[in-house]
Amino acid sequence: MLHRLTHVISCKEASRLLSESQDRPLGWLERLRLRAHLALCDMCTRFAAHLRMMREAMQRYRV
């Protein structure tokens, strides 16, 4: 049962959830799946850091 709930999401799905987490609160199931994915995936963990960095950069945007 728990295994089915935490079915492994792909990087593509994870990247989409990570982006959306900057615009809306994720549901508990989404958070659970995302956390399970990130625990195993260095690439998406990196991607998550990139998203945070870009948000920070846009806050400080100057030209």
């Binding site: 999401i9 792909s10 990087c11 593509k12 799905e13 990247s15 989409r16 982006s19 959306e20 900057q22 615009d23 809306r24 690439m43 990196r46 991607f47 850091a49 990139h50 998203l51 945070r52 960095m53 870009m54 948000r55 920070e56 950069a57 846009m58 806050q59 400080r60 945007y61 100057r62 030209v63």
Partner: protein, 191 residues
Amino acid sequence: MDAAAFVAELDSHRRYLLRVAQLQLRDGELAEDVVQETLLAALKAREGFTGKSTVKTWLTGILKHKIVDAIRARQRAPVAMASLDEEADVEDFEPLFKENGAWAAPPAEWGDPEDALSRREFFEVMDMCLEKLPPNTARVFIMREVMDLTTEEICKELRITANNLWVILYRARMALRLCLEQNWFAAAARG
């Protein structure tokens, strides 16, 4: 801050405000007008600036209202909405992922973010990358990230669904990320 210093401070943000308005409105003349109004409003409201936020944040707040007013005043052409729908198509990102949903080109190590954020050249590259986004995608992204509008506010303003909005923002972030990686971080890694 005395009056002259205040005017100088306002003036130092002019270029930034103009850039944001230009990305947002895609109309040089209208952008100029909106920035003029913003600076004028800031001068009049000098007392209202409490120093709790930075001058830049305060000015961005005023600019946000002026831009929203300008967008409201401008007739929304159906053509613009059609192209917004087009830009909400997520399938364009297929090449970024393999068929099984794994990264086709894995995100690279970016190093210390503070290092990039402390460099003027980084922001020039970012500006170039924003310029390369499809016009409506850039506009929506700026509304969200610079002007700090909520999902609800943007959807109401542009008459799009929340789901469309999230797709457009996802698209903007994916494209911006790739552009920064190729034009800044890869270049930095090469030294």
